[in-house]
């Protein structure tokens, strides 16, 4: 459905401008609340249909790969075609576990927010493969620059639930010392960069990190993630340009989950054009992949990582996925899209697809799945108990407010010492 309400003011307009009706193109949005979901706009390729290229293929050869859709898991839950990464079942089970852990964690934190225990939360529902498979395909020494919807990276890298929950609670164990909104994790030990509230800023930073690795002659690479809406930002362009010019060893990921808050991906330029095509447009390899297919994400990430590591430059990967939940706990998507669209999403649920694949190859069953789920729920409950014991904004122990003045600079300058003392005096005599 194209929005065209222009007719309502055409008359007064004409008086002023004396011309024909408005002809500004307004990107179409396929379905609004009350309408039936319509995903006919999503260009699909059959699983296994897209060819693979050597990792040193010239950029121009990747043009078709940036248009088609690389998929490995077919409708019968088998892994097919040249992009099949041929993973060990043990690896697949680990992937399944981490994706499921992400979802259980997300659900629980969403509830904690509703209960007023944390101020804000962002789920990654339906997008778990994008993060978990990528983290597993990369080396642990590779540096990751996540967005706020990549908690699967953190869990896959081994950040503990308690660490993450403590950040969400801004409590006494918060790695950010209470300074960041929930979900803005980081970890030097796990090589996870600090998440910014400002969209896309991490993209050129990842490229700079990769340039430094190349300058130093180290073989580590960088990887970064942003949403499709954020590709409109200046920093997206800076990142691609610098990555191209210096052949920086970096994998740049665009998670096209179709929505940017209330704004459909057509408003970021996705109408009849893939986001991956911007890679070859600017001189990077481009891959458009099924982001809900654990195996496709793994394979594409591996391909981009090896290409980067061996000096053939950067790759832009578009992960076609769907934001199954609200944008954040501050959002209500039923205002701008049909309810339950996710059921009709043609690429399905990434967790379910990997689970069915494991079952299909005889490496998993419903009982084991139920046991795993119960175990993860227990784990999350236990972690929450531990985290909340370290306080929250409402109860329990609290961080020292004097911490507010630290880390503005390496050393506390005189004016901040004065301000800290003034605050302490104020708190002492309320």
């Amino acid at each position: 459905m194209a929005i065209d309400l222009g007719a309502q003011f055409a008359a007064c307009w004409l008086m002023l401008w004396g011309m024909s009706a408005p002809r500004l193109h307004v990107p179409a949005v396929p379905a609004r609340p009350g309408e039936s979901p319509d995903f006919s706009y999503v260009r699909l390729s059959p699983a296994g249909a897209v060819h693979c290229l050597p990792i040193d293929a010239p950029v121009s050869a990747t043009v078709p790969l940036a248009e088609e859709l690389i998929r490995v898991l077919d409708d019968a839950h088998h892994a097919v075609g040249p992009w099949n990464p041929q993973l060990d079942p043990e690896v697949l089970r680990r992937g399944l576990r981490t994706m499921l852990q992400t979802r259980v964690f997300d659900d629980r934190m969403q509830r904690a927010q509703r209960q007023g225990r944390i101020t804000f939360y962002v789920r990654s529902l339906g997008e778990e493969a994008v993060s978990v498979a990528a983290a597993m395909a990369l080396s642990d020494r590779d540096m990751l620059f996540p967005s706020y919807r990549n908690q699967g990276l953190h869990l896959a890298r081994g950040l503990t639930l308690v660490e993450m929950m403590s950040q969400l609670l801004s409590n006494t164990r918060d790695m950010c010392k209470g300074r960041q909104l929930p979900v803005m994790y980081h970890s030097t030990a796990h090589r996870l960069f600090s998440i910014s509230g400002n969209l896309a800023t991490q993209f050129p930073q990842a490229v700079g990190w990769a340039m430094a690795a190349a300058i130093k002659g180290e073989s580590d690479i960088a990887a970064a993630w942003i949403g499709e809406g954020s590709t409109a930002a200046a920093d997206f362009h800076h990142a691609l340009t610098f990555a191209k010019v210096y052949k920086a060893p970096v994998v740049l990921n665009v998670v096209n989950n179709q929505w940017a808050i209330s704004t459909f991906q057509g408003y970021a330029g996705g109408e009849q054009r893939s986001f991956a095509a911007r890679g070859p447009g600017l001189g990077l390899a481009g891959l458009r992949i099924d982001g809900n297919d654990f195996l496709a994400v793994y394979a594409a990430t591996r391909w981009g990582a090896e290409r980067a590591r061996q000096g053939h430059g950067a790759t832009l990967i578009e992960h076609v996925s769907y934001r199954a939940g609200a944008h954040s706990t501050s959002d209500d998507p039923s205002r701008y899209r049909p309810r339950d669209e996710f059921h009709d999403w043609p690429l399905g649920d990434p967790i379910d697809r990997l689970k069915q694949h494991l079952i299909a190859i005889g490496e998993w069953d419903e009982t084991r799945h139920a046991t795993l789920l119960a175990e993860l729920e227990e784990e999350v409950t236990a972690a929450w108990r531990e985290a909340i014991a370290a306080g929250s904004l409402n109860e329990g122990p609290r961080l020292d407010p004097a911490l507010m003045f630290e880390d503005v600079f390496k050393e506390l300058p005189a004016h901040l010492r004065e301000q800290r003392d003034a605050l302490l005096a104020e708190l002492a005599n309320p």
Binding site: I3, D4, L5, G6, A7, Q8, F9, C12, M15, L16, P22, L24, V26, V29, R32, T119, F120, S170, D174, C176, K177, G178, R179, Q180, L181, M184, S196, G197, N198, L199, G229, S230, A232, A233, A234, A260, I261, S262, T263, Y267, A268, G269, S330, R335, Y336, L393, R398, L399, P401, L403, M404, F405, V408, H415, L416, Q419, L423, E426, L427, P430
Partner: protein, 339 residues
């Protein structure tokens, strides 16, 4: 007269102008179908059409750049930046283009653009949803910078901004969107209902830019402030039972220094209060200008109460925010200064 909160008043201002002037267009992230993350543009696209109320890509620099081009082609865009914390990607277009166009072209081309953006803290938004960057705009020659503190001013000033032939950065103190705020977070949230400044005419009217308002008259001391802090300062003054005059400057550029200076010359004492960080913030200009004009009348040093010079920390919202207690302490200190 209907009672409106600030969100409704701002919405009404745009509605009135979209109806009156076919050159007016509204654009920004999520402002169209959805009506804006704070609902300020709710219903405008439905009423005025998707060619006049535009959802945009997430590129603040692109929004402002495109809006400049629209101005050159005769439109009057009202651009929303979703949070003032996200205005920096547009800083180059604002400083180098919006602010300079009239000057460099000797008025052949102009940018009668309004940039609306919610600012300020007090909503647990953390460091990227709480900033007050008016100071880095007020310093730039060629743009007007304003901030209303109540629904009546919000609507009248927004209409004036849209009609203004100069570009205006229009800051909206989001903490008072739905009700005044006295700086005491533990008290129940107030609503605008019943507040005299929430009586807002439905139709067209303007509140001129560049004129300060005396929010409260008094003789003992002058409090110079704006935005959310107008309400916080009023609460502090009441709590102390002080005969203070509160000047709501409303507009940083042009600054109504005459009204401010007259008040300070009368009272001999001056407290400046804003949410923005203190160092080199707009309060510094207020202090410097007042001192230049009122030096011989001052009975005590001009003081500033402001945000601490740190990013806005999520967990310490109320230790950070210059609340009622902090303003009261400063007022007490200032009244105690010998003459």
């Amino acid at each position: 007269m209907p009672s409106m909160n600030m969100v409704q008043a701002l919405n009404s201002a745009m509605d009135v102008m979209l109806s009156r002037d076919s050159r007016v267009v509204v654009l920004g992230e999520d402002v169209g179908y959805f009506g804006g993350v704070f609902r300020v543009t709710d219903g405008l696209q439905k009423k005025h059409g998707a060619h006049r109320v535009l959802d945009t890509p997430i590129a603040e620099g692109g929004i402002v750049g495109a809006a400049v081009g629209m101005c050159v082609n005769g439109l009057r865009p009202v651009a929303e930046i979703q949070f003032a914390d996200y205005i920096y990607p547009a800083y180059d277009q604002i400083v180098s283009e919006v602010a300079r166009l009239r000057y460099r072209s000797a008025a052949a081309f102009t940018a009668p653009l309004t940039i609306r953006t919610p600012c300020g803290g007090g909503i647990r938004g953390g460091q990227t949803h709480s900033q007050s960057p008016e100071g880095v705009f007020a310093h730039v020659s060629g743009i007007k910078t304003v901030m209303p503190s109540n629904p009546y001013d919000a609507k009248g000033m927004l209409i004036a901004a849209i009609e203004d032939d100069d570009p205006v950065i229009f800051f909206e103190p989001k903490r008072v969107y739905n009700g005044p705020f006295d700086g005491e977070p533990d008290k129940p949230a107030q609503s605008w209902a019943g507040h005299p400044l929430a009586e807002v005419p439905e139709g067209y009217y303007t509140v001129p830019l560049g004129q300060a308002a005396i929010a409260r008259s008094g003789e003992a001391i002058t409090v110079v402030t704006y935005g959310t802090m107008v309400h916080v300062c009023a609460a502090a003054v009441e709590a102390l039972g002080l005969d203070a005059e509160i000047v709501d400057i409303r507009s940083m550029m042009p600054l109504d220094i005459d009204t401010i200076a007259a008040s300070v010359s009368k009272t001999g004492r001056c407290l400046i209060a804003h949410e923005a960080t203190r160092f080199a913030g707009f309060g510094a200009e207020l202090s410097a200008s007042i001192q230049e004009r009122c030096f011989w009348d001052l009975e005590a040093p001009i003081m500033r109460v402001a945000g601490w010079d740190t990013p806005y920390p999520h967990a310490f919202e109320w230790e950070y925010f210059p609340g009622k207690r902090r303003v009261m302490n400063a007022l007490k200190q200032l009244m105690a200064e010998a003459t």
